[in-house]
Structure formats: C-alpha cells, structure tokens
C-alpha cells in the first residue's frame, strides 16, 4: 500500500490486491471499517486507476471533516493496516475505450476521480476519442491531479480540459470563474447533433444542475450518465 497526498484534503491510496478480478473505468468499491465494539461504517469510493494497472487499485479519498470513514482513510491509515473492500461495483457509470465517443466528462470537486480513471484508461489504450473535461473546483489548490491533467493534455491527442474555479482564482486566470451553469455547458459541451456520451460526477446539486442543463440544451437523457456523492458539499 502507498499513500500519496493530492491536495490538502485528498489523498490517493494505492492497494495491491492479489485476488482483484479487474475493473472498468468508472467503477467504485465499498470500504468497510469495523470498530473494536463491532460498529461498522461503510462508504463508496471511486477507483481512480485504470483497468490496465490492476491488480494495483488506487482510490482517491477526500476528507469529510465529520465523516465516519474518510478521516480515517486520509489521516490515520498506515502502510500495513488492513482494509475491507467490496467490489468492483457498478457497470452503469463506466466507459471503455471500445464505447467510443465523443466523450464529455463533467466533474465537480472529487467527482473527478472516476472520470480520471476514464482519462487514464483512454491514455493507456492510446484512444483518440475526442474528449472534453469540464472540471469545477473551489480554487487552484483544490484541483486534484492538476499536473497529470496538464501532462495528458500535452501528450495525448484530442483531449481538452476546461476548468472553472468557483471561489478563488489566481491572477491571470482565463478559464471560468463561476459555478457550473447552462451557458457554460452550452459553450463546452459538444453540439447536440454530435451526440456525445456524457458522464457527470460530483455532489448532488452539481450533478443535477449539469444533467438538467444538458437535457435542456437538447442532449439525449439516455446518453447522460450521472453519479452523485455525498454529503452535499460545494464544488
């Protein structure tokens, strides 16, 4: 197991899982913790690593201050500790390179995690499916995988990343500086006629705004996949 900080609030935990059956980009695992008195808490965490890295599996976990599981995973977990995992789970919110595109990814905060698995899978398979990522964070310091996203944009084809910073923007910031809205999606999403496949992941209000906007713009609901996480936060 290795633990790597991503931002002040998020860490990536890489586990070697000898019995792992393999996963698809976008799937998650349930992590269960059991206290000495038998009390159990269980939460879902998205897999950040692509299928190509199995049996190594990376989870990126954001610390929720009053959470039951994430403070342990981000602060107390040590190499050598044992974790109980169930998964991989979910064939609904997944993208395989063979599914093609155009691909539209919309991430709020740590909602980037399963979408990063898709981008890493896309890079690992040398896919040239035209892909746009719209990624909303509070500030530049909160952008998870910032360097890797820059690297992917420079070193893979047909990938564009558009960011919005909702609270604090550095001097000279030229991307968006507000919460996601219909106008932003109109500008960033592919034209309706090109029928992109959309994956939206973030806090519930973020996901609902993004999904409702895409539908209002005329995108087919059946081509819009969503995954919400809680507790409700801002991104």
């Amino acid at each position: 197991m290795t633990i790597r900080p991503e931002t002040a609030r998020t860490k990536s935990i890489t586990l070697a899982l000898p019995n792992w059956i393999g996963h698809r980009a976008g799937q998650h695992v349930d992590v269960r913790l059991t206290a000495e008195d038998g009390y159990q808490a269980e939460r879902s965490y998205s897999i950040a690593s692509p299928p190509e890295e199995a049996p190594r599996v990376t989870l990126t976990v954001e610390r929720i201050d009053d959470g039951e599981v994430s403070p342990y995973l981000t602060e107390d977990l040590r190499v050598g500790d044992k974790l109980e995992l169930r998964g991989p789970i979910g064939g609904y919110f997944v993208w395989d390179a063979s599914m093609g595109g155009l691909l539209l990814l919309v991430a709020g905060g740590s909602g980037i995690v399963p979408l990063m698995a898709m981008l890493r899978h896309r890079a690992a398979t040398s896919s040239s499916v035209p892909t746009r990522l719209l990624y909303s964070s509070r500030s530049l310091e909160d952008v998870i995988y910032r360097d890797e996203l820059d690297h992917l944009v420079k070193n893979t084809t047909m990938l564009e990343v558009v960011q919005t910073l909702t609270r604090v923007q550095p001097p000279g910031w030229t991307d968006y500086s507000r919460r996601i809205d219909m106008q932003m999606l109109r500008e960033v999403a592919w034209p309706v006629e090109q029928r992109p496949i959309a994956y939206i992941c973030g806090p519930t209000p973020f996901v609902e705004t993004a999904a409702a906007s895409l539908v209002a713009l005329g995108h087919e609901p059946a081509r819009i996949k969503t995954e919400r996480f809680g507790p409700t936060g801002e991104a």
């Binding site: 998650h28 169930r86 789970i89």
Partner: protein, 86 residues
C-alpha cells in the same frame, strides 16, 4: 443525516444480496410505470439503511436494511426487475 445519492451508491448493498450488477438491472416502478436502471435511480442512505426511489415519481422502489447479521429487502415499489444475462 440523509444524503441524496443514486443507485450506484446502493449497488454494493444490493450486490451483497443479489448476484448481479445491480446498477444495470432495470426496475419498473409500481407508482408510475417508469423503467430505469438502478444506477439511474435516486438513493437515500442513512444509518437505518438505504432507500431507492423512482427518479420520475419518487415512489420508494426498494428498501435495504442490514442489521444484526441479516439483510431485509423490501421490494414493494418494484413491479418488474429486468436482469440482463451475463
């Protein structure tokens, strides 16, 4: 505290009971007749268990409680469950 999530978050608990990829299983609502993949439903998770609701009419489709070593599965809101082979 209750969080509105979606059927993807409920799938782990459902898959502990049923040996299928539950996010892809289609459920038909007894309330309005809408058919949706469980992954596209609304789910509310709290300490007492998980409630899966119809995304169109909000009818309770499924309740799952895991307590004292057993699962309780209340499927009163589901008229038909369509499970793909393989």
């Amino acid at each position: 505290m209750e969080n509105k999530l979606d059927g993807n978050a409920a799938a782990g608990a459902l898959q502990a009971i049923l040996p299928f990829d539950m996010t892809l299983v289609q459920a038909t609502c007894t309330g309005c007749g809408a058919t949706n993949a469980i992954g596209a439903t609304a789910a509310y998770m709290h300490g007492m268990g998980t409630i899966v609701r119809c995304p169109r009419c909000d009818t309770v489709l499924i309740r799952i409680v895991h307590a004292r070593g057993r699962y309780l599965l209340d499927m009163r809101g589901v008229r038909v469950l369509q499970i793909m082979e393989g």
